[in-house]
């Protein structure tokens, strides 16, 4: 019941993917009883094969959706805490907890996607080019089947597309660190050299990136 109400509120407010996950494992103790996550996703705008990031419209839609979800939980007399989509706008007291939780954890626990070989959350619904927000709650929501490992198979398009050769080409499993998948320093060094500090080739190369490359999805199958 509550699940349906939350989903409807989130979709009506502009979220494109909604799921529920059990995030109790490894959760920072500061979050207390907030062991369920409502994971909210929104695809990034793409034009000319390039993805827009940051996408202010997508971030704003997710902010509205998160507030709508929080409103449903408040009315149901449940606890909640909103972790907004990145990049976070203004400084606030709640920001002290933002870096203690990852939206990728919420989304994989909710079964909305897995971590690709490029370290990005890959959602079959939205692809890798998406922004995510999370609402943590103590409401005993029925949760989705969590993704415990990557579903990239033999595909390594992102690794081949990376100009910094930052990807190790390993299949993700739950519990892995980002550094197990990527040489973050190599990625950062490359981004530092870019005038606009953007690269995004690992995103664009992904066959699930249907916004930018609709053809490739069939190629993967």
């Amino acid at each position: 019941m509550l699940e349906r109400e939350i989903t409807q509120a989130a979709l009506a407010a502009g979220a494109e993917a909604v799921g529920f996950g059990d995030v109790s494992e490894g959760l920072y103790p500061e979050f207390g009883p907030l062991i369920r996550a409502v994971s909210l996703g929104c695809g990034l705008e793409a034009s000319g094969g390039r993805v827009r990031f940051p996408d202010a419209a997508a971030t704003a839609r997710l902010a509205t959706a998160a507030r709508a979800v929080a409103g449903v939980l408040r009315r149901a007399r449940r606890r909640f805490f909103i972790l907004p989509a990145e990049p976070v706008r203004q400084p606030c007291y709640c920001a002290a907890l933002y870096d203690r939780f990852s939206h990728k954890v919420a989304a994989t626990c909710a079964g909305l996607g897995w971590i690709g070989k490029n370290g990005l959350l890959v959602s079959p619904q939205l692809g890798p080019a998406a922004v995510w927000a999370t609402v943590l709650t103590d409401a005993p929501l029925a949760v989705g089947e969590p993704m415990l490992q990557g579903r990239c198979g033999k595909c390594d398009a992102c690794r081949r597309a990376c100009p910094a050769r930052a990807m190790r080409g390993r299949q993700w499993r739950r519990g892995m660190q980002l550094t197990d998948l990527l040489d973050l320093d190599a990625c950062r060094r490359h981004l530092g050299r870019q005038a606009d500090r953007e690269c995004g080739r690992c995103m664009a190369a992904c066959p699930y990136n249907f916004a930018a490359t609709p053809r490739k999805r069939t190629a993967l199958r």
Binding site: E30, G32, C92, Y93, C94, A96
Partner: protein, 227 residues
């Protein structure tokens, strides 16, 4: 008229305790629009609400996320009300506070809440931020001639630095009120080090800050009456 103001104060209090920023903002704006006193609204609305939040945390009804949301709600109201506070020397504390987390420590939730309480009370806050070198605290307290020094540490490895700072500050100016906080400390230890106040965790620190600010204000009021 008085009833209406009571109603608005209650809105501010509840808006803070129920972490409803919009509600706080609406009530704060109503305080101004209807010509009520902004300072009164801050102290007996916003700050009173935050005191209740501290109590709820102590009773395990609220956790850290709720306390932070309450602080954000409070701040939303404070931003609206603060520019309209009339400076009245008999009730406004003229004071300054130096605040930061000690070298090696980057946990600043408690520090930020305590800072907020001092801001509400009308203090000038010199926020040194996180991971502050010990000598910086001493320098800043002396150069700004501050009345308060607040330090916190979350790790046993870093908390010892606070004792050094207390000793050095006391040598140079024994009148500075010093408050320390953080999980590894105990009230006993804080007292032995010569601190005037101690906050176990963020919300407790907040209550302690309110108490210290309150006692300082009483002192000022007494002095004002006497003079």
């Amino acid at each position: 008229m008085a009833d209406r103001f009571q109603e608005l104060l209650e809105e501010l209090r509840q808006g803070v305790t129920e972490y409803d920023e919009e509600r706080v903002k609406v009530a704060a704006q109503a305080v101004l629009d209807e010509g009520f006193d902004a300072y009164d609204a801050v102290m007996n609305g916003l700050a009173a609400g935050m005191e209740e939040v501290g109590r709820l945390f102590g009773a395990n009804e609220y956790f850290v996320p709720e306390v932070l949301m309450c602080a954000d709600a409070l701040y939303g109201g404070l931003e609206i009300l603060r520019p309209h506070i009339e400076v009245d020397p008999s009730r406004q504390v003229k004071g300054a506070v130096v605040i930061g987390t000690v070298e090696g420590d980057v946990h600043d939730i408690g520090k930020n809440l305590v800072k907020l309480m001092f801001e509400i009370a009308g203090f000038t806050v010199h926020d040194l931020g996180r991971d502050v070198p010990l000598e910086k605290f001493v320098e800043e307290v002396l150069s700004t001639d501050s009345d308060f020094l607040c330090m916190s540490a979350m790790m046993t490895t870093t908390m010892g630095g606070m004792k050094q700072v207390i000793d050095q500050v006391r040598q140079k100016n024994p009148n500075v009120k010093i408050m320390v906080g953080g999980a590894p400390l105990t009230g006993d230890l804080a007292q032995r080090w010569g601190a005037d106040g101690y906050g176990k965790d963020a919300p407790n620190a907040l209550q302690e800050a309110l108490r210290m600010v309150g006692s300082l204000r009483e002192m000022h009021q007494e002095a004002a009456k006497g003079g």
